[in-house]
Symmetry: D2
Subunit: 132 residues, 4 copies
């Protein structure tokens, strides 16, 4: 609701306000989940088996953070940039969500991260549909 209120306070808000706010919020949240999960994976006893998870976490965190920033800007819509970033974000969240889901049974941070990835991928897909 806070993100939605901020976007609505823009002098010329972009269309699809609800979908946009959901994408910004879930991308921001997913970026944090991935950063925390990468760090927790690094500290696990089975770190050798978590390398791929750390790496996909870090990439997902970077893509989600950039997506949240770019989508927070409504003053100059660059629709092809937004679309390509959303495609990248869906791909990163899918890869990271799949990887984390494999460790969800024994690492709670992976379970929580997989959830955040799924929510973000869903929100980005929903926004992509109306932008296409």
């Amino acid at each position: 609701m806070t993100v939605a209120a901020r976007l609505a306070a823009h002098p010329a808000p972009a269309p699809h306000a609800d979908l946009l706010a959901a994408a910004v919020e879930t991308a921001l949240d997913c970026s944090q989940a991935c950063t925390a999960c990468a760090d927790a994976c690094l500290s696990e006893a089975d770190v050798e088996d978590m390398r791929r998870c750390v790496s996909t976490d870090l990439t997902c965190a970077d893509v989600c953070a950039a997506t949240a920033r770019v989508l927070s800007r409504q003053s100059t819509p660059l629709e092809d940039v937004a679309r390509a970033l959303l495609v990248a974000c869906v791909a990163a969240c899918s890869a990271c969500g799949d990887e984390c889901a494999q460790h969800a049974g024994h690492h709670e941070h992976c379970r929580l991260c997989a959830e955040a990835c799924r929510r973000c991928a869903d929100a980005c897909r929903a926004l992509l549909e109306v932008l296409a």
Copy 2:
């Protein structure tokens, strides 16, 4: 609560869990508020008067984003880095909050951003106190 749950899922959580989670959450939130406020300011009719606000917004967004990321890592506590970043974050949020407060009467995005800055500065100060 989500950020707190993720930090708690780390195999070796850092002390001061509540204060840490509050700092991460408010920094992440403030980063978004500042990014959106800068963009909204750019679109205002009185953009000439909003230059300083755009600039402090952008710097505050960058410092808050870095703070949220660094504080999300509990595996290798670098206390002097964390402390210096928190000092930078308090300074950036204070400068940006003061600037935005001056425009809060006529720009809702500035009012919302000033609030986010104040919350983040408070949370960072509270964490700094126990880290000092």
Copy 3:
């Protein structure tokens, strides 16, 4: 050359080393050019005419920074993420380069930024061709 040496020091370097290093280097450089150009535009007397330039600069800076980070990771190639990010980076650099080129005659920072955008777009396109 420094970026190339670092990527070559990876235990399992990715293919297309030269194209990869060029994309990382130019994306990093373009991110700085765009950040500096946005700030300079804000300080210009004709700031009203530079709004669109500030906004495209900021988005281009974010996309380039994320691209440089993601491409710097060779341990877990996420080819669809890399490709989508490269497409976003080409789009952002093209939009920003076109916008800056319009002001290149009277703002040196725009001329320098348009050059950085063109170099980055070229390097990303070249890498995209071999990844496709």
Copy 4:
């Protein structure tokens, strides 16, 4: 030289142009070195011994990236923010440089990263001296 030229193209350049440009350039470069080193460490056979290096690399990358961005903005000097960030950057580069130096004999990426950290710490210290 490119960064220096961009900063000089600002309508109202900040003082200490050479020191400022050196800090921006080395921070940007160090951010890339740390991102690449973290990823390379993750792929090493002795990943268990490299955990601390990955974590300090990631934090150093984030602090350097934020420092390069904030210092690239000359329009609204926030000297206390800049100073605190520079202190954080020196601390992050020192911690990361020390950690990487321990592995420099057997991991070339750590040797290259330690060098980048040292250069960035030196440039930030030199700028801090004139800002103090």
